[in-house]
Amino acid sequence: MKNRLLIVMTILTVLAPSLLSALTGEEIVRKADDMQIFETSEATGEMIIKDRFGTKVSTFNSWSRGSEESLIEFTSRAERGQKVLRTEDELYLFYPDAEELIRMQGSMLRQSMLGSDVSYEDMTGGKDRVSQYDVELLGEENVKGHDCYVLMMTANVRTVPYPKEKVWIDKETFLGWKAEYYTKSGRLLKEIEILKVEDFDGRLVATETRISDKMKTDTETIMILHDLKIDIPIDDNMFSLEELSW
């Protein structure tokens, strides 16, 4: 009897730290979301779009504030001056030759942005995923040398772009190295994979990402961010409709 008690006590002593520190799926996702939200950010970047017709490069400047506001202004010749504004509730497109702003809604959101593998819908999802998804911790896997939690997130609201997301989140840095997006029935729609990261005071930020729309054949988009600046002062009007038209 004494021996049994000793064994149980030994096991508890050994496992206690890990049991106490074990994170739930929700906590992992919340930490990952927190890692990606900045007060403000600014970057220049390029989208390298590869499809059956070859490779196309679009360049852009981007700004963001918090998790809900962002602005992209394209600078490449074919799209120069076009802007995509995301506010808390809406997504707007500005075209220099159009007299009105185009508010993206409904099926329009599913359109591809500049022929890339990124849809406008991809830009609409909030970063507070815990409130929008039921999270299930599936296990652990190693992705490119990083130990990751594998989680399956099933949407509990209808306002998210994808009903199911499978994500691989770094156990150490809480960076989502890889994600797969599925339909409700389990059909793979899109794959996202981080290729390069940059360290900002201990927070890893993806600066090169590969996105692949599985509904298309032989396409992928590499999104690269240059000159990324975090938590810099940004004009309050930057994300307003009035500013968008200027």
Binding site: E79, Y95, A98, Q111
Partner: protein
């Protein structure tokens, strides 16, 4: 002997007027239907050929060599260099006129919603030589090259509750495989004969389309009309060689007959209708067979007497054959005449397919005018006489086999 038989046949026909009229009517209805059907198909084919040549493909069309392969992906970047094609066609002896066009799928952003439509970029000065655009204008004026103006199909404008003076933002995929939007003012409403063009299309100046779609001097296609003395199939190879020589690249240059699947189907339909015509006549002929059989049974005593008096089987066959032939000749003539009358009348007023074609992307005009083909009408006449006459052989042979002794039983 034949004259005698013909006289006898004529007498027999007039003796059984009601039966003869019934047989003749069946043939007449079949002949009339086929003449009308052939005329309708002829009218449809001619109409579709005109529409294809004018609005869709020209008589010969120049396009990027790979465009058709990737058409379902909307490859706006697969263009042809307008300047070099223009230079090549300017010296081509078989060419009458030609126009550059850009047809692009787009969304019209109206009141916060998108509405699908097809845009056409066209040089309105060149189009004046290619087609009578001005006569298709229902209201307003043609857009001017170099301006942000458009003319819109009258039905599309009606559906979207738009009018002249309204400004519409158009979104489309560009040749740079991105997207772009531009706001254009509606300055004219058009009504082409083809319903689909009026319910889905809007036209803008070519230079604005090139700018908006980032085409840098490229056009999606060049539509060519030929001089009267050349055929599209004959001229296409020469045009292809000339254009490719100057452009320095291989292009898809083909005559219009090879481009439209609908037209090909219509030509195939013409062949099918020839078979249908045969079945129509066979159906009509069953009435002749039936009435001739009845005549034979009713005139059994007469056949027996004729046989007893020495009329041979072959002569009996000929007698009934003549009867059938005369009825079918008269029936066919009456049927063809009515068919011609009907076609001429419908050719004047037209047949309105507006409701039937609404919402369909079909290169046929909403109002089709049946067209009489003399050769086909003559063919229908002889065809119907031949089939109906041949059909009388079956009962006639039966009459020939009747023995006078058997026939006398009916006395």
């Amino acid at each position: 002997m034949n004259t005698k038989l013909i006289k006898t046949a004529l007498r027999n026909i007039s003796r059984n007027k009601r039966r003869s009229i019934l047989s003749g009517t069946a043939i007449a209805v079949a002949a009339m239907s086929i003449v009308a059907l052939f005329s309708l198909i002829e009218g449809m084919t001619d109409d579709m050929a005109f529409n294809l040549k004018t609005y869709y493909t020209g008589e010969v069309r120049v396009k990027h060599i790979d465009y058709e392969t990737y058409e379902r992906y909307n490859p706006m970047h697969l263009t042809v260099d307008w300047e070099s094609v223009d230079r090549a066609l300017g010296d081509e002896k078989t060419v009458s006129t030609y126009v550059p066009r850009i047809t692009f799928p787009s969304n019209l952003y109206i009141g916060g919603s998108n509405f699908g439509a097809m845009g056409v970029g066209a040089d309105f000065e060149l189009e004046a030589d290619f087609q009578d655009l001005a006569s298709s204008l229902k209201a307003g004026r043609l857009p001017q090259n170099g301006t942000n103006e458009m003319m819109m199909g009258a039905i599309l404008a009606r559906d979207l509750k738009l009018k002249i003076g309204d400004r519409v933002t158009v979104m489309s995929t560009t040749a740079a495989r991105g997207t772009n939007a531009i706001t254009l003012e509606i300055v004219g409403l058009f009504a082409f004969p083809v319903g689909a063009l009026n319910s889905k299309y809007f036209w803008i100046p070519l230079d604005r389309a090139q700018y908006f779609l980032r085409m840098d001097g490229g056009v999606q296609e060049v539509l060519i009309k030929l001089k009267d003395d050349v055929t599209s199939r004959g001229a296409a190879p020469g045009i292809k060689a000339a254009v490719e020589n100057i452009a320095g690249t291989e292009m898809d240059i083909r005559p219009w007959e090879e481009l439209s699947t609908t037209y090909g189907m219509l030509k195939m339909a013409q062949m099918i209708y020839n078979f249908i015509a045969m079945f129509f006549f066979l159906l009509g002929s069953t009435v002749i067979i039936n009435t001739t059989m009845m005549v034979i049974f009713e005139r059994m005593r007469e056949i027996g007497t004729l046989g007893a008096l020495g009329m041979h089987g072959k002569e009996l066959i000929r007698l009934f054959f003549f009867e059938g032939t005369i009825i079918s000749m008269i029936g066919s003539a009456v049927g063809v005449a009515i068919g011609i009358g009907l076609t001429l009348w419908l050719g004047e007023i037209g047949i309105d397919y507006t409701d039937a074609l609404s919402g369909m992307d079909f290169e046929m005009s909403a109002i089709v005018f049946p067209k009489l083909s003399v050769a086909k009408t003559v063919f229908v006449y002889f065809y119907s006489v031949a089939i109906a006459s041949a059909a009388t052989f079956i009962p006639s042979r039966h009459a020939a086999k009747i023995e006078p002794v058997d026939a006398l039983r009916y006395v």
